[in-house]
């Protein structure tokens, strides 16, 4: 995707976000509490500013796209594989937060480390498994003894 096409999507997203905030604001902020500037005014002004900037960005990108003057991307697009890897990393993070109270810090962290290591290109067991086994206990005991913070030990294992 060329930079101007990407800008068009970005500008559209900012515009849509600003509209959503403006629509939501009447039910999400009180129009009280100040001289001229009430509790609702400041977020309302900001949402209008965001709307104007979003439209300006979209118009600018559309103009460049029409003229064909949009610059090419600095590096090759990541493609579906890159997107998949990003989604997998986010899923790993969410799964970690879900599993942490259930299976505890040690196991959840070891699993997370191993999965992420594979995503970051680790192929040998020394880079995938060894840090997954060594690092979580080090972090656990650092928090326990240096910071006096008890990390979750997991409800599944009592």
């Amino acid at each position: 995707m060329r930079a101007s096409a990407r800008d068009l999507v970005g500008g559209g997203a900012v515009t849509a976000l600003a509209v959503a905030v403006l629509v939501a604001l009447p039910s999400q902020a009180d129009d009280t509490g100040g001289a001229i500037v009430t509790s609702a005014s400041f977020p309302t002004w900001l949402a209008w500013a965001l709307l104007v900037l979003g439209i300006a960005w979209t118009a600018n990108a559309a103009g460049r796209l029409r003229r064909g003057t949009g610059e090419a991307d600095a590096e090759e697009p990541a493609g579906w594989r890159g997107t998949l890897w990003v989604l997998a990393a986010i899923a790993a993070g969410i799964a970690y937060a879900v599993l942490l109270p259930l299976i505890g810090f040690m196991i959840a962290s070891a699993l997370l480390m191993a999965v992420l290591s594979l995503l970051y290109g680790g192929r040998r067991w020394t880079t995938v498994l060894l840090p997954a086994v060594i690092l979580p206990p080090l972090v656990y005991y650092f928090f326990r003894y240096a910071m006096v913070v008890f990390l979750p030990s997991g409800t599944l294992f009592g």
Partner: protein, 502 residues
Amino acid sequence: METILPGIELAFTFSNILLAVVGLAVGIFIGAIPGLNVPMAVALALPFTFALTPLSALALLIGIYKGGTYGGSISAVLINVPGTPAAAATAADGHALARQGKAGKALRMSLFASVVGEIIADIALIALAIPLAAFALNFGPAEYFAVGVFALTIIGLVSGGNLIKGLIAGTAGVLLATVGLDPLIGVERLTFDIRALSGGIDFIALIIGMFAIAELLIQVERSATNRISQRIAEDRGDDPAAGRVSRAEFRAAFPAMLRGTPIGIFIGAIPGLGSAVAAYLSYGLSKRFSRTPDQYGKGAIDGVAAAESANNAVCSSTMIPLLALGVPGDVITAIMLGALTIHGIIPGPALFDQQADLITGLFILMALTSILHLVVGWAGLRVFVRALDLPRAVLFPAVFLVCLIGTYVATSSFFAVYTMLGVGVVGYLMLKVGIPVAPLLIGFILGPIIEVKLRQALLISRGDITVFITRPISAILLLMTLAVIVTIIAQSIRNARAGTKS
């Protein structure tokens, strides 16, 4: 004078010195690794500062800031990839020296210049922050509003390279700051009936998501397409730390340091410009004044000194607006402002009056950290260059884990962990479309100041909006803001027309 002894007592504790050393080591290490950056390191350290005293917390964060800014020069010299944007100017001559087998010389000159820049800038901080804070005691809400708008506008306009995108980031940051309780009347805003949002968007979740998770997602995407090698550096010769700086070489490069440091001090004191701008300006000026300008880019050791003295001088001078006015000059001081606020300390002129011992202690700590920087950097050079040997498949998952568990420990909330991941995705998308993330964070920090001062000024003036132009300081600052906006817009239009013609 009566605050000096208590200040020394506060600063010279074993834990402060230890934390400054740890901060410097971590900062140099992280700064040396392309893909990891100084704001990320400071953000990740933030949860660990909660259990510390305010000064100990600052010792750690200042150590990371100073160490990280210097650390960027290690990869710039050794593999021609700047670990931080500020080290890009160092790469030109530093790597040329490395190719001549003088990497150790370049790394040591970079260290000396960084420390010289820091120490002079520490003195400037002490000399300038106190009178500025005394002057700022006359500031009322209108002036603070104008300072906030000025700082945010400059940061939004100059930090991204694109006018609209920078302003979008800044505006979005201020808008995000309005989520939660209204700071004046305490009613909820934009919380969508989610109880966890009534306290606002968590600061820790925001900065770790925006600066660490977003960058880690960019890196995982690159690793999927094999655009990064497994090891950061494959071949750097036998001993990259070999080579020393002779006394004659230091003396020859010293004028470049003396020219670079004031540039760094000046640039750092202006919100938004940052250490990369300072390094390039200093490098350019040093080349112009050099007797051998043709050597620049081919291994001029004074080129390394010029760039590094300027970029590390910025570390101290960005503290001037933070301490004297309570306005952060860059993203790292914005994080420090958040850290101080969490500890119940509000930077600004009143702090100089109410907690003079703490301010004195902080000044002493800044100077102490600069001296420790020399010791840690010198003693650990051979270890720090090994940072480039670490496999990314070990390093990045470990940082990811620290992000998740650091957020959880700091907030005791899984909602904050999910928020951090969500913010990380938004930050990743922002980076993909070229929106700078720094103005968003600065907007988030400055947003409440701008809103509260605006409303207070209008309440005091009984709704008279001319209060902002009838008070001279406020009027001057708002005029300066307008002038900067007009100049940058005119420049952009000129550039666009020039681009269309060509």
